[in-house]
């Protein structure tokens, strides 16, 4: 049976077929759909959203040592968070099969950096498989569990955005029942750091065995060996090579760490010119050059930055021109994503803009507060960084600084930094945007939402009490759509001599219950409107201008958040049905 599946859905399918009995992850593009598919279609894999990637990894580690087959998923930067565990686990080796999916994002479609996690795998001495299409996303997951158990090692499946987010036909199978493996406590293996010295040589020995395996494994294969030009490639780039150089001999590496030296040498000896086409960093290339292979055309031709495509390959190889976007008299207007109409973050950012404070931002939909029209976020680095950055900016002598963080990000990585602010006596003003969702990645549930991956109720994390318990004295909880409240609270927090926290509450518009609501939109009464433009400064995309210059609300877009009505000095905006309706 074959189905049209996303790469990520195929991974989920493979995990289910492989008998995975525990799966954990933290949302992050382009990995999110794996856990979501498990929840929707394969709940017997027992998937969950963990609070961050490190926790997910450690839960997975425990479950695998305990004898289950385990899947852990995250975006590339998630592995930085989980790296502490990731680097040590291989010393012990696993019991039940353990697969970590690292979803890299060349082109930074929805990420703060480009990062090739094959380097982290090499550092951790973890073997890497790289599928080339949706079918292999499924197949390689099954293969990874075999590999993991055969060599007692965690295995990484490295995907990239295009692989994760393309659909292709996938031949699927059924679930194999896998017996839980027995767990034998073994302090020398699992617990006492001093014994790690004894384990260290075993890691190297395993790597040598894996390298031998790579020489002949089915994932590394040669196609059209008689082709004149040779190409070494991996991942989705293989598909581009098939299209652009259909006559070439191809060495497709499905296992990219450890790499097979003999296979690579022999392949390169048979072809006078060899191209190396890999998305991301020159990971394979550096290794090949270290083997002394010199007839290579790699990154100097194809580049390290951004996503590959057939067009890019063709241009790099001077195989023809590609039409460029039209140039017209004026530049073609950009249309970037923006905060949803009625998003509670909008109120906070319009206030921050007005207050002219320095804002240390964080990762989430509110990152868009850095863009016009708000332009009220001045730093964004990585999850949780807002608080530490604000503390540092304050140390550097800037006294009107606010940190802004979402609920999910606060839970993920903000809490230690908040405790630090109290502990080290910072003045920190922190605004927690509590929208009961991990919005940016698709409004997933989180502990502050009080629901889990399956939508079941969980104890709701009480952010105010948590912040108080950390020792913050001034804690204000406000309705994020009450502009005056928000304004007053932030002002008070800035004036407070110690750490102060404002929790701005209001659900994300992408939550199912918000989308399902019956909305009675707001309307502008032109007779009362003085065209003062106050409502336009709320920057709501639903508010347009009529030819006569009056504000006009697009009824289908309005979410009835009330903010425009609050700022209108003449009460010209109200919850009223237009006369003719």
């Amino acid at each position: 049976m074959s189905e049209l599946l996303l790469g990520n859905q195929a991974i989920a399918r493979g995990a289910w077929e492989a008998g995975v009995a525990f799966a954990a992850g933290y949302p992050g593009t382009p990995s999110t759909e794996i856990i979501e598919t498990l929840a929707a279609r394969f709940p017997d894999t027992h998937p969950r959203w963990s609070t961050n990637e490190k926790v997910a990894f450690e839960e997975g580690m425990g479950a695998a040592i305990g004898g289950l087959r385990v899947l852990v998923t995250m975006k590339h930067v998630g592995l930085n968070v989980a790296a502490d565990a990731f680097m040590v686990f291989p010393y012990a080796g696993t019991n039940g099969g353990f697969l970590i999916v690292s979803a890299d994002d060349p082109g930074m479609h929805s990420s703060q950096n480009e990062q090739d996690n094959r380097y982290l795998a090499r550092m951790g001495k973890v073997p890497v498989l790289e599928p080339s299409d949706a079918q292999e996303c499924r197949d390689f997951v099954l293969a990874a569990f075999e590999l993991s158990e055969k060599f007692s090692t965690p295995v990484m499946l490295r995907t990239t955005t295009r692989l994760a987010h393309h659909k292709g036909l996938v031949q699927v199978g059924e679930r194999t029942p896998i017996d839980q493996r027995p767990f034998e406590p073994d302090p020398k293996r699992f617990s006492v750091p001093i014994y790690r010295k004894l384990l260290r040589p075993r890691v190297e020995a395993r790597l040598a065995q894996l390298q031998e395996y790579a020489e002949t494994c089915p994932h590394n294969r040669i196609e059209r060996p008689d082709g004149e030009i040779g190409v070494v490639t991996s991942g989705i780039a293989y598909q581009y090579v098939k299209e652009v150089l259909p006559q070439a001999a191809i060495l497709r590496l499905g296992m990219t760490f450890p790499l097979p030296p003999r296979l690579l040498r022999e392949f390169c000896e048979r072809h006078s010119t060899v191209y190396l086409v890999e998305e991301g960093e020159p990971f394979i290339e550096e290794y090949m050059r270290s083997l002394g292979i010199s007839n290579l055309g790699g990154k100097e031709l194809f580049g390290v930055i951004g996503e590959y495509s057939p067009g890019r390959l063709r241009q790099s190889l001077a195989l023809g021109d590609i039409p460029q976007p039209l140039t017209t008299g004026a530049p073609i207007l950009p249309r970037p994503p923006m905060m949803c109409v009625g998003c509670g973050h909008r109120t906070v950012f319009s206030v921050l803009r007005q207050l002219k404070v320095i804002v240390a931002g964080d990762i989430g939909c509110y990152t868009m507060g850095a863009l016009p029209p708000y332009e009220a976020e001045h730093t964004t680095f990585c999850m949780g960084a807002s608080i530490g950055t604000a503390i540092g900016l304050e140390r550097a002598g800037h006294d009107r600084v606010a940190a802004v963080i979402g609920d999910s990000t606060f839970i993920h990585a903000g809490i230690p930094a908040l405790i630090d602010a109290v502990y080290n006596g910072s003045r920190l003003t922190l605004i927690i945007l509590d929208n009961s969702a991990t919005g940016m990645t698709g409004a997933q549930s989180n502990p502050a939402a009080g629901t889990n991956l399956f939508g079941e109720h969980t104890p709701r994390l009480d952010l105010a009490r948590l912040v108080q318990a950390a020792g913050v004295e001034q804690v204000q909880v406000v309705d994020t759509w009450q502009r005056k409240q928000v304004f007053r609270a932030i002002n008070q927090a800035l004036a407070h001599p110690g750490p102060a926290v404002v929790i701005a509450q209001g659900p994300c518009q992408q939550l199912p219950e918000m989308k399902r609501r019956d909305i009675v939109p707001y309307v502008v009464e032109e007779e009362l409107c003085t065209k003062c433009d106050a409502c336009f400064r709320v920057w709501c995309p639903a508010i347009k201008r009529t030819e006569q210059g009056f504000p006009w609300i697009e009824a289908a877009e309005c979410t009835a958040c009330t903010v425009c009505a609050q700022v209108c000095p003449t009460d010209a905006i109200a919850l009223r049905q237009p006369e003719q309706a």
């Binding site: 393309h166 004026a330 950009p334 249309r335």
Partner: protein
């Protein structure tokens, strides 16, 4: 190598270009083709520009279409048609465009910079375009949001997928209570293509 048919669906997040791309992929699967599809993802629900690539044929490798190779660019909005027109094949390509404008709210003076003359620009550059009042038609049929399906009906007349397969696909994917409306929208698109003047070259 056997021909691969490349289709690029573009629009503004929320207009449903992804849905008709998906319906097309499913119809192509039903018709026995190999299919690849990819959405330049991110945050389509938030009003950004959305772009979905669909490719089908005997065997498809890359999910991505190279500019200049699309058989049809299906645009749900005018500015987006302009942004992605260069994907159309210079000789065999054409653009199916919904006559509909959404002024972006990203720039403050966007209303002044909006390319109201996009169709003239495209024609002057030699593109072959069919402009449909898909939003108006959908509105008359009771729901402006079905503009995407009007365009799909029009597109269906250009593809080697038979009517029965399209019907089956719509039935498979569209919830029963929306099926009748969407069926009429699909037919309206087909009818428009049957009535259109032979494209001027």
């Amino acid at each position: 190598m056997q021909e691969v048919i490349n289709l690029l669906f573009v629009g503004v997040g929320g207009q449903g270009s992804l849905l008709i791309a998906e319906l097309t992929s499913l119809a192509a699967v039903q018709a026995g083709f190999d299919v690849k599809q990819t959405e330049v993802h991110g945050v389509s629900q938030r009003g950004g520009s959305v772009e979905t690539h669909v490719r089908f044929g005997a065997r498809v490798h890359s999910p991505i279409i190279t500019p200049g190779e699309a058989r049809v660019v299906i645009a749900l909005e005018k500015l987006e048609a302009l942004r992605f027109a260069h994907f159309a094949h210079p000789q065999n390509g054409e653009l199916l465009i919904n006559d509909f404008e959404i002024v972006p709210s990203s720039v403050l003076n966007a209303a002044e910079l909006y390319p109201y003359d996009a169709f003239d620009v495209l024609r002057s550059r030699g593109y072959s375009l069919t402009v449909l009042p898909a939003s108006d038609t959908a509105h008359q049929l009771g729901d402006g949001r079905m503009a995407n399906v009007v365009l799909l009906g029009a597109l269906s007349t250009l593809l080697p997928i038979d009517a029965a397969t399209w019907q089956k696909t719509l039935q498979m994917r569209i919830p029963p209570r929306y099926l009748a409306g969407n069926g009429s929208a699909f037919q309206a698109g087909q009818q428009f293509m049957a009535d259109r003047q032979p494209a001027a070259t």
